[in-house]
């Protein structure tokens, strides 16, 4: 199960800092390749309804939301996610 780490106000919305999501088997592209990132995020919204519309909007990542997969920013939802992966989700943030 990929691990999802939440930051900023997503922690308060979800009530957790970190959780694991098990994509339904039908979502798996193959047992060895894993699921799509979009599929995992859809599953996350089902498991934590409070996140509905917070991360995704019309099937796309909402503006200013930053998602990294194992530390690398991802812009597309069709990237493959495997069980050992770490997904970090940041709401709109600024600073520096």
């Amino acid at each position: 199960m990929p691990t999802i780490k939440l930051f900023g106000n997503l922690r308060k919305i979800a009530g957790v800092k970190e959780l694991s999501i098990a994509p339904p088997s039908g979502m798996l592209r193959s047992s060895s390749q894993g699921a799509s990132l979009g599929g995992v995020l859809n599953e996350l919204e089902k498991e934590v309804p409070a996140l509905n519309g917070v991360i995704l909007e019309d099937g796309q990542v909402r503006p200013h939301v930053v998602i990294t997969l194992n530390g690398h920013s991802v812009a597309k939802l069709d990237v493959t996610v495997t069980e050992k992966d770490f997904i970090a989700i940041f709401p709109p943030i600024a600073g520096g």
Binding site: K5, F7, G8, N9, R11, H64, V66, T68, N70, G71, H72, S73, A75, A88, F90, P91, P92, I93, A94, G95, G96
Partner: protein, 599 residues
Amino acid sequence: MNGWNGNILEIDLTTQTHKIHPLDMEVARLFLGGRGLGARLLWDIVGPEVNPLSPENALIFTTGPITASGSQTSNRFNVSTKSPLTDGILHANSGGWWGMQFKRTGYDALIVRGKADTPVLIEITGEGVAIKDASHLWGKGVFETTETLDQNRNKRNVLCIGPAGENLVRIAAIMNDKERALARGGPGAVMGSKNLKAIVVEGKEKNKPADPDQFKFMLYETGKLLKASPLTSQALPEFGTAVVMNVVNEIGALPTRNFQDSQFEYADNISGEEITDTILVKNQACWACPITCTRITKTKSGKEGEGPEFESAWAFGAQCGIHDLEAITEANYLCNDMGLDTISMGNTIGCAMELAEKGLIKEPLAFGQADKLLGLIEDTAHRRGFGDELAEGSYRMAAKHGAPELSMSVKKLEMPAYDPRGMQGQGLVFATGNRGACHETGNMLGPEVLALPRLIDRFATQGKAGIVSVHQNSAAVIDSLLYCKFANMAVAEEFFARTLSAITGVHFTADDLMMVGERVWNLERLYNIREGFGKADDTLPKRMLDEPVAEGPSKGFTVKLDPMLEEYYAFRGWNQNGVPKPQKLKELSLEFAIEVEND
């Protein structure tokens, strides 16, 4: 003309006299104010023969045409001088209230020259300009000095130095409104070298717009944008600047233990989220700012103050291998009271920790020693014991012990909280920074990490030169207008141009503003060339160029600087040695500086 007062106040502390010069309105049109006007004045006043800590150096405080207008974030001001840390051009700006109040005294800029025989303070009020004895304040901290001089947020504002500035610490800040800082590059030491403890201002002049109706419309439109953006209406108010700690760490670009690692295992313990959950008391805003990003915090020991901001939390945190947020916060408070730049202080302590762990100095220091922070800061401010070495900044300290390569600095200014091996464009920003390694003069966090305005490949080098140049020019014009850079996250240059036009009655476009930014950047570059800087100074610490990141998402990367630099010089219209070509200077109305190019 509206927007500018049209007056520059010059004070000579040696002769204890002052005079008022008219502001050249052509200079105002070309450089606007703030950092731009400061650079233009410094060019004429402080030449290459001047030692930064001599009476011949000048402190030039500048405001901009929008300052005190009431436009959102129109509270900032700038100081320009020759840096005692880098020996090059220095500009630093700060928020709060002092800038607004100084503009209301009827001046656009204040030039302080010379040196008083004994400690003095300057008071600028409706009664005039007075130079007063400040012997009773010498040695006092910033907090006590500010209170003693009757700081009154909207009526009377105090700018001062602490013991660090008095003791000519090269990383000393000038503080205003108690806890705001003109921090980087040692302007506090320049002020201390003049025996100038404080500048107190009280003013009543209004910055009235030339077109009140259009100005009101722009206030409304700008307010809408700031409210609509989740960055300025939610993220910054809720979590402050340190909310970026985790994302910078997650991608493997958070410098850790003097940049030996690029991820800190305890980053979350020192993040904006943790600050909000544990020590935050309330938010605070600078004058005329709806963003309210300032954090008023309180530690378990009962101490209360501002911060820490992201950079300060990193400097005393990951950079020193420390994850005790209370200790970090109190280190931040103490730096504010002593008048020290938190980035350079924390970075220099981290450098000392590595020197000690490698056996290059005999101090009992090691990464993770939270209990050492306060003592080291106090000793630095007073130049006591080993603090006398820390007071020189990391480069001079490390060089003294035969290891200058362990100083994580550029042009001797300590690097801020980004490991450029994981952000190649940021590496180019640091290497080419006119005041040294600086995140305020073209930060690539937006495009390389936060997808602002859109995500670009942080490991790519090709094409970065143009993006970096545009970001640098944009930062230069915002620093010349003296808007807050956070406002620029929601409000584009076009809106700044329209507000500026409404205030001054002079038509400015966004392109005009970007041209000002490029002009300012080139003039600063020429100033440094006149000081003897060259291509060899556009570099990074050896570690960034030769030591690949060992672990994490940036594993295996170094900064590929040379190809980016070559592309950068070409994009900027400079020759292969990084000197602006005469044609470029003519385009930018900088003909007066062509002689430097010919030298």
